[in-house]
């Protein structure tokens, strides 16, 4: 299970190999991000019957570079009311997790370099997939602190929305990851791709039923604050959202983090559900084919992300929370039980499926009952909107919990 690279002690060669892996991954991810920006703009303009960037470089390929250079040389504004330290820290907290998540993604098979067996991924910790969840939960900080430290209204609202959303969808995300772990018997990403290698019908997307994959896609889109879940930066309501006050390089970092997350999450989806680098290979340059397969699948996913962005309108905030808490979390939990049941035996799986359906009926019935009761109560209150003398007389007024109620509404 552990990394074969360290099997024979840690020598200079091993350290060099690790360093090279880190540097290559870092550089490749940066370049890919720039290409991703271009890709997204191009695809969207194509879908909207526009041409898109076409000036800098062939097909506008260097447009992102030009934009980056421009941002780099712009004036670096620091709002007067900003919390200086946190304001500077926040962009870093956004971008670093985006880089780090990629470290556990296996981009290819295994190669042998100077008698050392090297896995084509930066690291393969035994709790790999938890590492992913951990970092995606750290990513909340970047958004949250950026909005708060700006010392301004709309960024704060944007960041509160964003962090509530990210926390809410993390639960569903985690539960779908658990189904994958159940099926693969391991938390290590390498073991997860190995467990679904050789045949495409062993890919988790099929083995687990489509549901966990679908939930994962929705939840990860929400995690990234991408459309249709980009309430954090709803331009019409909040200006630019949490990063309104940012400019220059710091803004570029947020931008970078967003697109890097798109790539990373696509890569993670490929790893978890589509066999990672698995695919038919040929006998020439055997190490290359898995990498190509991985890249191809990832690009396909990136395209899907762009497609979603181009076609779906933004959700309303309460719809977003309803979807997360009342639909995705119960569904992923129920599916987890069903998967667990089927792993043990078909009978158990069927029984748990039945139980899940029953539970769903109960849940939706109770939600319906609650809504109806609330409506009738509202009607009663409207009818009795006359101040009445308090019966006891000696009691104090109710504790005003409205600020807290507000918190609940936002969805903690």
């Amino acid at each position: 299970m552990s990394d074969p690279l360290f099997a024979h002690g840690v020598g200079l060669a091993v350290i060099l190999i690790v360093l090279v892996k880190v540097v290559v991954a870092f550089a490749a991810l940066l370049v890919c991000t720039m290409l991703m920006v271009w890709f997204e703009r191009k695809v969207i303009s194509d879908m909207q019957n526009r041409i898109g960037p076409n000036r800098a470089g062939p097909y506008g390929l260097l447009q992102s570079l030009a934009d980056g250079t421009k941002l780099f040389f712009k004036e670096d504004l620091l709002p007067e009311k900003a919390d200086r330290f946190v304001f500077r820290l926040a962009p870093l907290l956004a971008v670093i997790p985006a880089f780090l998540i990629f470290a556990v993604v296996p981009v290819g098979g295994v190669v042998t370099i100077a008698h050392h067996v090297v896995e084509l991924q930066v690291a393969d910790p035994p709790m790999g997939i938890l590492y992913l969840l951990a970092l995606s939960s750290v990513a909340v900080y970047g958004v949250m602190l950026a909005g708060w430290s700006s010392g301004s209204k709309y960024p704060l609202l944007g960041s509160v929305r964003a962090s509530a959303q990210m926390i809410s969808y993390e639960a569903a995300l985690g539960l779908t990851v658990v189904t994958v772990v159940l099926e693969s018997h391991s938390l290590s990403t390498r073991a997860i791709i190995q467990s679904q290698s050789h045949h495409f019908w062993q890919w988790n997307v099929l083995r687990l039923g489509i549901v966990p994959f679908a939930i994962f896609m929705i939840a990860s889109t929400a995690e990234m604050n991408r459309p249709p879940f980009d309430l954090a930066e709803g331009e019409s309501e909040l200006g630019g959202g949490f990063n309104t006050e940012y400019s220059s390089l710091r803004f570029a970092l947020f931008y970078l983090a967003e697109f890097m997350n798109t790539i990373t999450m696509s890569a993670v989806a490929v790893t978890l559900f589509f066999g990672g680098p698995d695919g038919p290979g040929f006998h020439v340059v055997r190490w290359l084919w898995p990498i190509l397969w991985f890249l191809g699948k990832t690009v396909a996913f990136c395209y899907v992300q762009v497609w979603i962005r181009a076609s779906l309108p933004r959700m309303r905030y309460d719809q977003l929370m309803d979807l997360g808490w009342k639909r995705l979390i119960p569904l992923s939990l129920g599916w987890l039980l069903v998967v667990a049941g089927f792993i043990v035996s078909v009978a158990w799986g069927a029984a748990l499926f039945g139980a899940g359906v029953l539970a769903a009926v109960l849940l939706y019935q109770s939600i319906r009952v609650g809504r109806r009761r609330r409506e009738s109560l509202a009607a009663a209150m409207a009818a009795a909107a006359v101040p009445r003398p308090r019966p006891g007389g000696n009691r104090q007024g109710p504790v005003d919990l409205r600020p807290l109620a507000g918190t609940g509404k936002v969805g903690t």
Partner: protein, 565 residues
């Protein structure tokens, strides 16, 4: 893989591989009372969510009483098992099934049978609908049961949390009164803090002994000679702090008066009964059965705790004019008496403590139920002046309350007398004479403030004024205490018997005269008692009198519980 391990076991075995994984046998019958409560709670919750219109509170109360009876029956079945097969541990040795555990299962079941009756009347009066009170009470009860039957420190901690969190919420159940929210907040913050201390204690104990399982800790300590046990003692100290907070022993009692006063009154009664039952169950088990080898280390600490608790609870209660707050301090005083049995650390002492906890739970539930009824709509005013002339207006209620208060004071022919008698006797038998004397003294002091309420109820004259009362009260109490103590020293030498009874008979003579002055126009609040509350009170008072006159069955039960464990 047996069938009873179910899908979870099968899954675990499947995922973790063969690797020598032996799944523990799940003997559900050993945790049946807990399961009944939790399952019933879920059913109630689902029913309340699914019913198209809010169900009346009495429906939930009935269901809760039913579940309490069911768990009582399950506990008694366990008792039969224990008496026929002896004590045993179950489910990976996490659950202890012994007389001690079953005794507390019975206590908790009884609390759960009585408490909903008091709550139903109150919630109906205050217009609080919904199943929350009952659901929280049931979960809390299951937590107390887990604490009682746990054989593992982690499980004790979980039980402690399952017990406490509903109590925090119950304290804040009344959204209308600010005091209720404040009580919840206070209890929650301090409770969470004490839980953290408790967990730290578990961590240190684990570090020192290599296990969280009480049996294994005991075995480890009996096998190994300890050269330097600083870590273990640190762990023990922190565990003791955690427990002392839960049972409100001085100096960890600061939350008690405010929380008891702020919480809705039936919730206060429930809180007092349940927290003490669960807290003392785990406290006694951990300290007496697991760390007997360290007795010389913890006994002095408990000694000091007991004295502080006894004295402070009694003395501060005297100056209270708010009956609810007075009962809060008196509950601290009672905790001191239970600690007496722990300090003795003998089978006799444990039996005394068990008996005391059982008796006290019913007494405190009943007392707070009367307080709730007299407090009237709004549950805010519990001044002693409200009780003026209660004996004339509601003679039966007043007599019932008087019996409960006298029992708490330790009057003869009530269970309270025997409970005090047994713990003091155990203390004397363990040669803790000073402690016994102080306990009797505090009982004498306590008799004063209970009797004050009784006198107010049955005399048609009012109270002069709050400040006079407290001033005069203090002096009288001191006099009473001295008098009681003098008598009790003799009594202690004779064997510690019945002295608090003497105090009860003596104290009134001091109490009556100066504090009561005629007053012209008493405004007499209406007191209404629902049939539910009446039923509950009849149960409480009945138990107090029946077992006070015929104490043998309950005493035998407590004794047997310690013999088997």
């Amino acid at each position: 893989m047996t069938g009873s391990t179910g899908v979870l076991g099968a899954l675990a075995a499947h995922l973790l591989g063969a690797g020598g994984l032996v799944l523990p046998h799940l003997n559900y019958s050993t945790i049946l009372p807990e399961l009944i409560l939790l399952g019933g709670m879920l059913v109630i919750l689902a029913a309340s969510a699914l019913s198209p219109r809010p169900l009346p509170t009495e429906v939930y109360a009935t269901a809760t009483v039913g579940l309490g009876i069911a768990s009582l029956i399950a506990s008694l079945v366990l008792w039969r098992d224990v008496t026929s097969h002896g004590a045993f541990t179950a489910i990976a040795r996490s659950i202890d099934v012994d007389g001690f555990a079953v005794f507390f299962l019975v206590v908790v079941s009884c609390i759960l049978i009585v408490a909903p009756m008091f709550a139903a009347g109150y919630l109906r009066r205050e217009g609080i609908t919904g199943c929350e009170y009952y659901v929280l009470a049931l979960i809390s009860g299951s937590g107390a049961m887990f604490m009682a039957s746990a054989n593992d420190l982690i499980l004790i901690f979980l039980g402690l949390e399952i017990l406490s969190i509903p109590l925090y919420v119950l304290a804040g159940l009344d959204h209308r009164r600010e005091a209720s929210g404040e009580a919840a907040m206070k209890y929650f913050v301090l409770g969470a803090f004490s839980s953290a201390i408790f967990v730290y204690g578990i961590a240190l104990t684990y570090g020192a002994t290599g296990s969280t399982n009480l049996a294994e800790i005991g075995a480890f300590l009996s096998r190994n000679v300890i050269t330097s046990n600083g870590v273990l003692l640190g762990g023990l100290a922190l565990l003791l702090v955690g427990f002392a907070f839960k049972v409100a022993a001085v100096p960890f009692h600061m939350w008690t008066p405010d929380v008891y006063q702020g919480a809705p009154t039936p919730a206060t009664g429930f809180m007092a009964a349940m927290a003490k039952a669960g807290g003392f169950a785990a406290l006694l088990r951990v300290f007496v059965s697991t760390f007997p080898t360290l007795r010389t280390s913890w006994q002095p600490v408990v000694w000091v705790l007991a004295i502080l608790t006894l004295v402070l609870g009694a003395v501060v209660a005297i100056v209270q004019n708010d009956v609810k707050r007075m009962l809060a301090y008196s509950s601290i005083n009672h905790a001191g008496f239970v600690l007496l049995g722990l300090e003795a650390a003998t089978a006799r002492g444990i039996a005394g403590s068990l008996y005391y906890v059982f008796v006290y739970s019913l007494l405190v539930l009943g007392s707070f139920a009367v307080v709730a009824a007299v407090g009237g709509n709004g549950d805010a005013d519990h001044d002693i002046s409200r009780y003026r002339g209660l004996g004339r207006r509601r003679p039966v209620l007043a007599v019932g309350f008087a019996i409960l208060l006298l029992a708490q004071a330790g009057a003869p022919f009530t269970t309270g007398f025997f409970s005090k008698f047994y713990v003091v006797e155990a203390a004397v038998a363990a040669h803790s004479y000073a402690l016994a004397v102080i306990a009797m003294g505090s009982a004498g002091v306590a008799a004063f403030f209970y009797l004050r309420v009784v006198f107010v109820m049955f005399s048609d004259v009012g109270i002069a004024g709050a400040s006079d009362v407290s001033r005069g009260g203090g002096e009288i109490a001191r006099a009473g205490a001295v008098a009681a103590e003098v008598r009790e020293q003799d009594a202690t030498l004779l064997g510690g018997a019945g002295a608090s009874a003497v105090a009860t008979l003596v104290a009134p003579a001091y109490v009556a005269a100066p504090e009561l002055a005629p007053e012209g126009t008493p405004s007499e609040p209406e007191v209404s008692v629902s049939p539910w509350v009446t039923t509950g009170l009849v149960l409480c008072v009945g138990a107090t009198l029946v077992f006070g006159i015929w104490p043998q069955p309950l005493v035998d039960f407590a004794h047997q519980a310690t013999l088997i464990f």
